[in-house]
Symmetry: C2
Subunit: 466 residues, 2 copies
């Protein structure tokens, strides 16, 4: 069983002809990707990563079996055995995939439930002193390991967190023992973090050169934290391998649901739909939507183009964004992930007095009610003028998650190519950094400082108290 795409709730909004007309564009995107002729073709290592990675065929590691893959499992076992807490330091693609996968496979309350794997905290993904200063408190009396994830090691957010937390570990354990508790996921050969790790003797894992941050969840970037949480990374890659095979066979969208998703959202975009809302009916899916938002927003949002990615959890947000989706501006569509099998189910009991009037549900499982909420909503939103693309996913296993991750990755690449952008760069992310570095007087950026401060004006001077 594999993920299915149910197009029936988009029927009134996308005609068969509109889809058929896209066939050449889909074929072209497929060819450009597989021939390596697309824009950004130095970042398509993810395309064959599911088979290459465990087999050791990556750009950085040729061989019959990837020793790094086994080292990840060994490191995860060690962390499980000697740590109550793993702190994952990273921003953007360096933490979103791991966090999404862990919450999907376990629960958003992973850190609250009883379990025999370490708590996992995420640091270095903001510049909040409040967030960072909380961590030493959370670590009091606990054994801790660190996984610092950064291609370069110079990204401000994770670098600041690493400076603070490395010191915490060294104060706690001494330099030698701390060294055995710090794991760096970084460039194979160069860069600040790579050099620090070599010098200090930290165990290192590789961020491949040809895999961008938002496509990196199936490398050590995601796999180490996911394995520490007790999830089966073999099965995760197995699912991704199946998807890799399934979505390489043909560019015919009637046979390739990955390309069909790309084509459908392309048709809708071209008809003026501006926003795509990712929907799930399980709170455990929320961080997957955040991962998806980065993947799609960063890949498509350029050259003044691209669908705006948003997300909701239903029925939660039917009591929040639901009103807008039902009756607001008619420029949005939904992509809904539903699961054949629930994560966990619960039967609704009977109340002899039926005071709450719920006895019509007595004996039913919550999943049955949840599915009918989905059914009722998809029709209501269709009636309100909102197309729905429905992804039917067999279950919440590692295998199906791996399949789903690859599905979204490849559909994103094909979508971006069809949109006429380079799906693998992110030139806009530099703009704020350049300004920030200049304002902070970072060596090499000082020139712009005065002009920027002048533009920000007196209010800003007061705000920063300088």
């Amino acid at each position: 069983m594999a993920l299915r795409l149910n197009a029936s709730y988009a029927k009134g909004f996308i005609s068969d002809d509109e889809l058929k007309q896209l066939a050449p564009a889909v074929q072209q995107a497929h060819d450009a990707l597989h021939n390596g002729t697309c824009a950004g073709n130095d970042f398509i290592g993810w395309l064959t990563l599911p088979t290459d990675y465990p087999a050791g065929n990556m750009s950085f590691e040729k061989g019959t079996a990837n020793p790094e893959f086994n080292r990840i499992k060994a490191a995860a076992k060690k962390i499980q055995s000697d740590s109550d807490i793993l702190i994952v330091i990273g921003i953007g693609g360096s933490y979103l995939g791991a966090r999404a996968a862990i919450e999907y496979l376990t629960t958003p309350n992973y850190n609250l439930i009883k379990k025999d794997t370490p708590n996992i905290y995420y640091a270095g993904n903001s510049i909040s002193g409040a967030a960072l200063s909380e961590l030493p408190e959370l670590c009091e009396g606990k054994d801790v390991s660190l996984n610092m994830i950064s291609k370069s090691g110079t990204t401000t957010e994770p670098a600041v967190a690493f400076r603070v937390l490395r010191k915490m570990l060294e104060d706690k354990y001494g330099k030698e023992e701390a060294c055995k508790r710090i794991y760096c996921t970084t460039d194979a050969n160069k860069g600040t973090l790579h050099d620090v790790a070599i010098k200090e003797g930290y165990e290192t894992f590789v961020v491949p050169d040809d895999v961008g941050g938002r496509y990196s969840v199936l490398t050590a970037v995601g796999l180490l934290p996911i394995a520490v949480a007790g999830c089966d990374i073999d099965k995760l890659l197995e699912g991704a391998q199946a998807a890799q095979a399934d979505f390489a066979k043909t560019a015919d969208i009637e046979e390739n649901v990955c390309y069909k998703y790309a084509a459908m959202r392309n048709v809708l975009y071209n008809k003026g739909y501006a926003t795509e809302i990712m929907v799930s009916y399980e709170p455990a899916y929320q961080m997957m939507s955040e991962w998806w938002k980065q993947l799609y927003g960063e890949s498509e949002g350029k050259d003044n183009k691209g669908l705006f990615p948003a997300s909701v959890i239903f029925s939660t947000d039917l009591h929040s964004m639901g009103q807008y989706i039902q009756e607001g501006v008619r420029n949005l569509f939904e992509t809904v992930c539903v699961f054949d099998k629930p994560k966990t189910d619960l039967e609704i009991g009977i109340d002899p007095e039926n005071i709450d009037g719920l006895n019509f549900l007595a004996g039913e499982n919550m999943d049955y009610v949840n599915k009918n909420a989905f059914g009722g909503t998809v029709l209501a939103h269709n009636d309100g003028g909102v197309p729905n693309i429905v992804l039917e996913i067999p279950d919440w296993s590692e295998y199906e998650l791996g399949y789903l991750i690859y599905f979204f990755e490849k559909a994103c690449a094909v979508s971006g190519i069809m949109l006429g952008v380079n799906p693998f760069n992110q030139p806009g992310v530099e703009a704020y950094k350049k300004n920030m570095f200049a304002l902070l007087g970072k060596p090499g950026y000082e020139k712009e400082q005065a002009a920027l401060a002048e533009r920000l004006g007196d209010n800003f001077k007061k705000l920063i108290n300088k």
Copy 2:
């Protein structure tokens, strides 16, 4: 000191004339609201709630001092003294405000940190069996109280959760002791939950008739959980009272920042901006943005109108949605909340070797870096064609939060009136419920069942296994 609106980063996008032209519309909205002649005028109890509520001048409770306000404090003390966990059951406006306020005033990791107040879990805000079945596990060996929040008591999500969790409490403590641990916030005089509470002897608090769910955070709906978390609800109301006074003085937008915010977003909407993104630089603000999304989405998103509300936390999401905001479709603007004083600060230490190249920041506080990230970003986004409305908030206290809540509530009402919609209803929320009830065969809804099932088709039959 009070919240300030810095309009300078919207200057290139909104002219003074455009704002001036709105003066009559703003005045009209102000009059309609304060004279009680606007659409939805049976739901404007929130307008004078900050002064009326503690004084006992609400529709349900006239007198010189509101005995309910004191009962909230007493109940909070009791829960703090006899419970390790408070479970808040509610959906939409029945939990978002409390959760937003608690995370804002404490931390998003409230349930993880050491403290002398109970953990607070939220239930009944989805139909996920996985989410609900986790709670008994989290409560094992702990003392628990319940706060069931529902105007009617028949909303499916909280009603199902209440049925399950009430049984859990009765099994744990016996009916008599459980009764002392269940608090119901509901209609003053009627409805299923009201009747159950009277029959069982649960302590009750009131959801006023003239205050809609999304405007209810400053009633018992929000105040009881907020007080249980150890926050000062007197100060919260004091801040809201100050805002109530400040924003009632004049409709002149140069004197009234609340109306200025409403007017600015109205100008942008009319110029074709489709999406408003709420921005903060502190993770603790995230649930406030969720509260804001419900408030604005549900108030404005109707009659095929309204700004689409979205939110991000920076710098976190500068590495996710940042690319889109910088260079995607140019139909969005940002509303940024910055704080004069940080929640908590942290000095960046010096590293004699400066391996990470961060020594240009050594000795600086993280808040200083975070503010410069804001400064750099606001200019970068301006340069990218994104107007920014900046709200400068003095600090993270209860007082300023109360002020901010009222600011957003009143600006939302004025915005909705200027948009020409009834800001206080939510007709679209019924559409999915009607379908869902019919599909589930709820008494009174059976008629539509067959037709809806037919429309959903065979896929759906397989999905629900029936």
